[in-house]
Structures are given as structure tokens and as C-alpha cells.
């Protein structure tokens, strides 16, 4: 059944800072970068900062995984006269695109009129996401994980990738193709961190950090901020840009996924998955669409195998067939035709977390907006529906479909 709020809200403003290699945003601060992104998003939307009256965060309103964002602080800094909505999704990056659903909840409840979702992060020494699990102080829960020496997100993810390889014969070649196919989309992006075309030889020579994962299977570690503004579709008509309608939005997941790779209790087939099947099915039910209807897929890509597993969870291919789907070139974007390759759906036309920048998933929302507006750098021809995802991570993970106006 169609979602009651389908196309009732729209993303109308996007703003981002430059993207910096880890630590290089210093001496800027997380709030400095966040304020720049918010003000740029207001300018993009053609509204005043004084019209912003809502915040819909994710990752527990975190700035990265070590800092916190606070609405009162933003009001003080930006001169916002009042707010009437201030909410966050729990857990981590899995909620990134779900923050747009949270914004929709506030807008449809008439709590707010223009709602900001954002991420800002700065990874100074001591605040590296790549070592965050290892640096956490010991607690009764992580005492069942930390002593194993699985201290980084890449370590954690490699154990899932290994199980997928065991069950389905998935190869490291497919992980390499995820990195190469999405790298091919950044050569002409001024802000992208990794722009040089990636060869298979370079991928194979990349150091093995957590076998079966190489350094180039890991996403970037970057600093920066991204903000987007969601409003009601009625108000969107008066904004500067073409609205990007929120066609479907979901967050959550199943108990079998739960705390995921900080738990490892997932039964098959959930263990070797992205944990997205539940929210995937929700957005398909909300929209009546299937993977075949999606023109571009902006899949959260902290690690290459998790892109492959999302392709399975969303039904771009059958479970266990991700390897062959990826290796047949179906992630690639063909600039000559503006379409996919070999009948596939282009994935991460912005280069993703692996190649452009890792702002904990918010760059995927920006690219989804630009694609349905029709002004993306690597524009998919006649792009009507863009899928963006958040996670895999501990629940909630999230799914978002934007529709062109």
C-alpha cells in the first residue's frame, strides 16, 4: 500500500564544505564546518536561516563518533529565532538517509516547516573512526568482542565478507570491482579525494589489512560537513531549486541483524548480508517499486563487500549472486549514454565513501538530490528514482527513495 506521506515532503537545499583528508580540516571546528554547510543549504533552497525551525539528526546527534551536535548551540550560533522540532535517530551511520524520514515525521506532524539533517566530522588524532571501537573503554558488552582484537570497523566487516565468500563463492575480485567501478566516477569531481583511475593491479597490490579486506576495500577517512533541508512539498514549490520528492523512507531492521558486527549472533543468511532486507522491503512496499525501477543507487559504501551485499538485499540481484552481478560490470556508469552498463543500475555515481568523501553517508543524499534534479556531475539520463541507503551498521539501517519533480 502506498505510503500516506509519499511525495508530501521534498529535499530543497543541499550544502557541503570542502572535503578534507582526515585531520586536515584543522584548525576549523566541527561547528564551523556544520554552520557553513547549513548556510549553503539555505542559500541553495533560497530561504533564510531564520526560517529553519527543525533538526532531524542521526547517529545519536553525533559529530563523527566522538562529538555531539546540539540544536540550542546551532540556534545561538546561527541566529535561528526558534525551533519546534529536535530529534535524532539512534545508533550510528546506518541512520544517515533515515534522517530524511525523521524530518518528514516532524514536517507531517506540523512540528516544523524547514528541517535540517546534517553530519559534520573532524578526525583529529584520537578521534579516528578507523580505530574507534578499539579505543572505547572496556564495558561489559564489548568485553565479549574487544579481546578478540577486532578493533576497527574493517576488522569487523571482514568477518561478514569471509562468510559471504564461504557461502556463495564470492571473490575478492568482486570487492575490487566495487572499488574500481566507483572510482571511475570521480575523475571529474573537484572535491573528490581519490580521483585517479584505479587498476586491478593497484587494487591487488593494496595492503591486506583484515584478510579478506585490503586497504582499498576500506572507505576514506575524511573531514567535512554536509547539510540538507527538507520541507513540505507545498513549501518546496516556492524554493529556488526543483524539489527532490521524498517518495519512500524507512529505518529499522530485524532482530536477526540487531547489533550486527558488534554482536555476531546473526543466523544465516543474515550474517552474510547487509542487514538491509527489512528496510528495503519497506520502501518497496511504500512505493510499489522494485530494484528494476531505480535509475541510480547511492549505496552506503564504508567497505566494498557491503555494497555487494546491499545489491542482494535490495534485489538488484538474487542472494548469493552479488559476485557475478558486480563482475559483469553492472555497477558502472556509462558517461556516453548516461545509463548503466550491461543492464545494471549505476551505483555511487559520486564515487561514494570509498572515493569522494566519507561524511558518514550524507554525500549519498546530496548525490541522490542532484540526480533527481538533473544536475549531477555524472548525470544519469532521465533519472526519476534515486535510491540512497545508510548502513550496514547496528540498527537502525535506513533506505530512502527520492523522485524527480
Amino acid at each position: 500500500m502506498a505510503w500516506a506521506n509519499q511525495d508530501k515532503t521534498a529535499i530543497v537545499g543541499i550544502g557541503a564544505t570542502d572535503y578534507y583528508v582526515r585531520g586536515q580540516s584543522y584548525p576549523r571546528t566541527v561547528y564551523d564546518m556544520a554552520c557553513e554547510a547549513i548556510l549553503k543549504a539555505c542559500e541553495d533552497a533560497g530561504i533564510s536561516i531564520k526560517q529553519i525551525d527543525g533538526f532531524a539528526y542521526y547517529s545519536g546527534a553525533g559529530a563523527g563518533y566522538t562529538g555531539k551536535l546540539d540544536s540550542g548551540t546551532f540556534m545561538e550560533m546561527l541566529g535561528m529565532p526558534h525551533i519546534s522540532y529536535s530529534a535524532t535517530l539512534t545508533s550510528g551511520g546506518g541512520g544517515s538517509v533515515g534522517s530524511i524520514g525523521l524530518a518528514t515525521a516532524g514536517l507531517m506532524n506540523e512540528d516544523c516547516t524547514y528541517c535540517v539533517s546534517l553530519m559534520t566530522l573532524q578526525q583529529l588524532p584520537g578521534a579516528r573512526l578507523g580505530t574507534v571501537f578499539g579505543k572505547m573503554s572496556t564495558d561489559p558488552e564489548n568485553s565479549f568482542l574487544q579481546p578478540s582484537g577486532l578493533v576497527g570497523p574493517g576488522h569487523l566487516m571482514s568477518v561478514l565478507a569471509r562468510r559471504h565468500m564461504h557461502l556463495y563463492g564470492t571473490t575478492q575480485d568482486a570487492f575490487g570491482e566495487v572499488a574500481m567501478a566507483t572510482r571511475a566516477n570521480t575523475w571529474n569531481r573537484p572535491k573528490a579525494v581519490r580521483k585517479k583511475a584505479l587498476t586491478k593491479e593497484e587494487y591487488d597490490a593494496s595492503p591486506m589489512l583484515a584478510d579478506p579486506l585490503r586497504r582499498l576495500d576500506f572507505c576514506l577517512e575524511t573531514d567535512g560537513a554536509v547539510a540538507v533541508i527538507t520541507t513540505t512539498s507545498d513549501r518546496a514549490k516556492d524554493c529556488r531549486q526543483k524539489p527532490a520528492y521524498v517518495h519512500a523512507a524507512a529505518h529499522g531492521g530485524r532482530r536477526e541483524w540487531g547489533r550486527a558486527f558488534t554482536w555476531y549472533g546473526m543466523p544465516d543468511p543474515y550474517f552474510a548480508s547487509s542487514g538491509h532486507e527489512f528496510t528495503a522491503n519497506r520502501v518497496w512496499d511504500q512505493s510499489g517499486l522494485t530494484a528494476k525501477d531505480i535509475d541510480v543507487a547511492l549505496l552506503y559504501d564504508h567497505f566494498t563487500p557491503m555494497v555487494l551485499m546491499q545489491l542482494e538485499d535490495y534485489g538488484f540481484c538474487e542472494r548469493g549472486e552479488g559476485n557475478d552481478y558486480v563482475l559483469s560490470g553492472k555497477l558502472r556508469y556509462d558517461a556516453a549514454t548516461g545509463k548503466g552498463v550491461n543492464g545494471g543500475t549505476p551505483v555511487n555515481t559520486h564515487g561514494g565513501n570509498l572515493n569522494e568523501a566519507y561524511i558518514i553517508g550524507m554525500t549519498h543524499v546530496v548525490e541522490a538530490v542532484e540526480q533527481v534534479r538533473g544536475n549531477a556531475i555524472s548525470q544519469v539520463k532521465d533519472c526519476e528514482f534515486a535510491l540512497a541507503t545508510g548502513g550496514p551498521a547496528s540498527l537502525p539501517v535506513s533506505s530512502l527513495i527520492l523522485r524527480s519533480a
Binding site: P147, S148, G149, H155, V159, R163, Y264, F271
Partner: protein, 146 residues
């Protein structure tokens, strides 16, 4: 395909760099480990196993727990091969494993495996518990290839 890497012996992480803390929910597990007895949290009413130990049975909502002595054997469900000591950053080959515990269906432990080369660890491999003293007098269950 790239050339296969040769890792050599899978080592356990040094006990003197490992710490745990316990809560009322988890302490019976660690107290048993201190006696070199492998247990898992079991519902005293419906028999469902759960790990890590938690206050309530997710199947029947009972707060009553049992801590049966398990055979101390299990099967590798998945693993990674790591090559740097996470504390010192020095080259160090260790293999974090997720182990399905015999006698406790659904319960898993995450630790290290030794007794073979890292290159030879496989999903489905049988292992038995190996006790490693760690800080503050606690003892950690690791595993050895059977």
C-alpha cells in the same frame, strides 16, 4: 587474482594487553571462566541460549538464568586474519574467530584461534577452548584447532 599471502602461525593476542569488565548480567560467565569452565547464558525456563549474557530471555521473557558447563568445543563460523598487534602496531598474526559453541545452539563466542597457521583456518574447523590469563586476574576463553 593476486598472489596468496603466507601468514604462518596464528598467535593469540598477549593476555597482558587484554581487559574485560563484568556486570551482574555477565559476571557468572567470567567467574566460570576463571575456573576454566566454559558456560553460556541459558534461560532456566525455556532453555534458550543467548550470548553475550543479557537480563531477559528474548524467547520467553524469563529473568531466570542457568549457566551449564559446556563441552568446551565448537566450530568456526567465520573469521578474519589480522597482521598487526592492535596495541603496539607491530607485525603480529592473529585470527579473530566467531565460534558456534557445542552444547549451546545459537550461542557464539568471539576470540582468537591458535594451534595452526593462520593460512589453514577454515570455516567449519573444529576447535576446543584454550584458557588465556588476562589482566586483573580474569581468564579469557580462546580456541585451539582440534
Amino acid at each position: 587474482m593476486s598472489e596468496a599471502i603466507k601468514y604462518g602461525p596464528a598467535k593469540l593476542l598477549p593476555g597482558d594487553q587484554l581487559h574485560i569488565t563484568a556486570s551482574a548480567d555477565t559476571e557468572p560467565f567470567w567467574e566460570a571462566a576463571r575456573e576454566q569452565r566454559l558456560t553460556a547464558c541459558q534461560c532456566a525456563d525455556c532453555g534458550h541460549f543467548r550470548m553475550p549474557p543479557t537480563p531477559v530471555c528474548p524467547e520467553c521473557s524469563s529473568f531466570r538464568k542457568a549457566w551449564p558447563t559446556l563441552p568446551g568445543t565448537g566450530t568456526v563460523f567465520s573469521f578474519a586474519i589480522c597482521n598487526r598487534n592492535p596495541v603496539t602496531g607491530e607485525p603480529y598474526v592473529y585470527v579473530p574467530v566467531v565460534v558456534d559453541l557445542d552444547g549451546a545452539p545459537g550461542a557464539r563466542l568471539i576470540s582468537n584461534v591458535t594451534g595452526c597457521d593462520a593460512d589453514d583456518v577454515e570455516i567449519g574447523m573444529k576447535v576446543s577452548v584454550e584458557w588465556t590469563p588476562i589482566n586483573e586476574g580474569w581468564i579469557l576463553p580462546n580456541f585451539r584447532k582440534v
